[in-house]
Amino acid sequence: MKTEMNTTLIENAQIIDPSLNVNATQTVSIENGSLKFSESSKADNKIDGSGKILIPALIDLQAGIKNIQADSQAAKQAGIGYVCMTPNTSPVIDTPADVTLIEEKNNAVDGCKILPLGALTQGLKGEQLANMYSLQQAGCIALTNSKKPVKDLLVLRRLMEYAATHDILILINAQEETLAKGGLMHEGETATRLGLVGIPESAETIAVAQTLLLAEETNARLHFSQISCARSIDMIRKAKEKGLKISADVAIANLMFTDEHVTGYNSLFNLQPPLRSEKDRQALLAAVNNREIAICSNHMPSQAAAKTDTFAAAATGMNTLTSWFSLGLNLVDRGELTLENLVYASSTLPAEILRLPETSYQLKENTKPVMALIDLKGATQGLSSAITFNV
């Protein structure tokens, strides 16, 4: 964490910290990185905080990082403090050396903190366990199957048993491969009309059900990455009520769009997981407002040329590295999310899921949390207008 050696006075910003139940407009100062709820007479720079929010910095639970240096700098300018980097790189992040390299590149620039996610299986092939403990020790905050299939349920169960031994957090993209095979979008009326092969709801819900039952047997600490179905939320809620260590996130795209957006074959909406129905979108929004699930970017970048092709041939994924919170603010403007719940889902809950130290995300006086001052109007228009402190 870098500490600025100066004093910044922020006048009349809206301070929001859902973990402390704080939502108030007031003047604060940041002295050498330390947060003070008072005016400082010896301020080096003054910022007019009206129209701005001061929040624990955003935490992205899943992003495909192509260029650590450029991406981390861009993210910091958008108010993002931490980005979890998926291991589906070349080479796959499945050894401690890979992790060290990432750290070195990250530390060389003034960007946000990149949190590497390690592979659950060697080479992400879904067959052999990766060196989970070593990866965790080297700095992997969690391990994931990164949208790749695990060979079978027996292997999945063993992954969980092994991870549970060291209380390692596992991020799972739940999808039943044989049902999802060949699918390009959500199975339903739109897919039928467009003639695109559909991915039925059961491809996700069956995988979620199986994974939950195994989690119960193995006592694993499990996080579902990017769920898309209303039914999945119900099952996850029930599992949590039973006391299982389960969490989940939703990709921003699934809160904004539905399968109907695919009409016209815009390959921007060729996504994994697919966009589901309006009923699912409403359930996901309700879950966010109920503080049950986190929001992430699900950033999967591709070049414009790779997207200018038929729907089936176009690259999958949306470029949301710096814009996901802006899209969230859009939902707040529309009245579909409250600002507090958006911040909770984008900062507080991810921090709790990743078990980051409280001092890094709670806006307590005389501490040095990683925070972001975001200009609401600018951010809503998609401009990266944020200052991120202590990262």
Partner: protein
């Protein structure tokens, strides 16, 4: 910053256009004339009728000894078939020639383009060679739409079949057949039988039939091949787009037109059907099953027919079959849509130049 995302952020209240609006916007020029022919969806009754009327006038030119008209002389039409089909390609070739256009045939296997040249580059190179029209057949649904909307919007695109999505020229020649043998499509009860799930022809037929005023469209076949979601195609608030029947006897009752679809052998190995014999027992059109329909019902098939699988030889060659007529109308319909789309493009380009 991604285009759509910045677009969204600047106009967050813009409501999603309906599928009909999307389909009509991409195919019509500012005067509402056809400039691409991609799907029967989203086109008005007037426009579909214009296609049929124009096709009728071309039928008369096909019956005289000089079958050519000079309408598209000097224009270059390229047949771009990313998926093989000798039949469809040759009818388009013949249609172009009879309009006096210059025609180029390109069989592009998908793997050739994946050896470096993208779909985009392939098409831009062709456009640079002064092509006025592309006739496109592709294995991916939506290919023609993306090409018309995003890649080469100034080249008239005719969809010769894209994945499972649409085969509009086939649907229009089927409509012409019904009109010629029944007088009108208005008020007819039409049954489509077979593998609806994989059929681009069926989807295009359903849209056209509903737009042209058919009383009822029935879809008949097993649950694995006839999804209920098909009932939503061209549905309005008052009426479903189609009605699914699993029982052929019930489905064919008092029907005016029966359209049989081809069954592909792969359906057996994909666990969609047990065998051809069981399929024929339940859904094959025999003389006995034909009797459930009206006495003057006509039997159609987009071809090529699988005798003894979806249709009995006795019926295919029988009195009520108009299958061979369908083939003869194919050239006239294609001449009609090619002329109309070329005309709409020229009109648009003339307008743009005068601005």
């Amino acid at each position: 910053m991604n285009d759509l995302i910045s677009q969204l952020l600047s106009s967050p209240d813009a409501s999603l256009p309906s599928p009909t609006e999307v389909a009509s916007k991409v195919q019509l020029n500012s005067k509402g004339r056809l400039k691409h022919f991609l799907t029967t969806e989203g086109l008005s009754k007037e426009l579909l009728t214009e296609i049929l009327d124009t096709a009728d006038s071309f039928i008369s030119t096909q019956e005289r000894s000089v079958k050519k008209v000079p309408l598209l002389r000097g224009q270059t039409v390229v047949n771009l078939f990313f998926e093989n089909s000798t039949r469809t390609r040759s009818t388009f070739e013949l249609a172009a020639k009879r309009l006096s256009a210059d025609i180029l045939n390109l069989d592009i296997a998908r793997s050739a383009t994946s050896k470096g040249e993208t779909l985009m580059d392939t098409l831009w190179n062709l456009q640079a060679m002064y092509s006025d029209m592309f006739v496109i057949r592709h294995a991916d649904s939506g290919a023609a739409h993306i090409i018309a909307e995003k890649i080469t919007p100034n080249v008239a695109i005719i969809n010769a079949g894209d994945g499972r999505h649409a085969h509009p020229t086939q649907a229009m020649l089927d409509m012409l057949t019904i009109r010629r043998h029944k007088g009108t499509i208005e008020g007819q009860t039409v049954a489509i039988v077979g593998d609806i799930l994989h059929s681009r022809v069926a989807r295009s037929q359903i849209h056209a039939l509903n737009t042209l005023g058919a009383k009822e469209v029935r879809l008949i076949g097993p649950g694995t091949l006839v999804p209920k979601t098909m009932e939503a195609l061209s549905a309005t608030d008052e009426k479903k787009g189609a009605q699914v029947y699993y029982d052929m006897k019930e489905g064919l009752k008092d029907v005016d037109v029966i359209i049989m679809l081809r069954l592909q052998k792969e359906r057996m190995s994909d666990a969609l059907l047990p065998s051809e014999s069981e399929y024929f027992k339940l859904y094959g059109l025999t003389k006995e099953k034909l009797a459930y329909a009206k006495a003057d019902a006509i039997v159609m098939h987009p071809g090529p027919i699988n005798r003894g699988v979806e249709i009995d030889s006795e019926v295919a060659d029988g009195e009520q079959s108009v299958i061979l007529n369908q083939v003869s109308y194919g050239i006239a319909v294609r001449m009609a849509v090619m002329s109309m789309a070329m005309s709409g493009q020229k009109e648009e380009q003339a307008e743009q130049e005068s601005e």
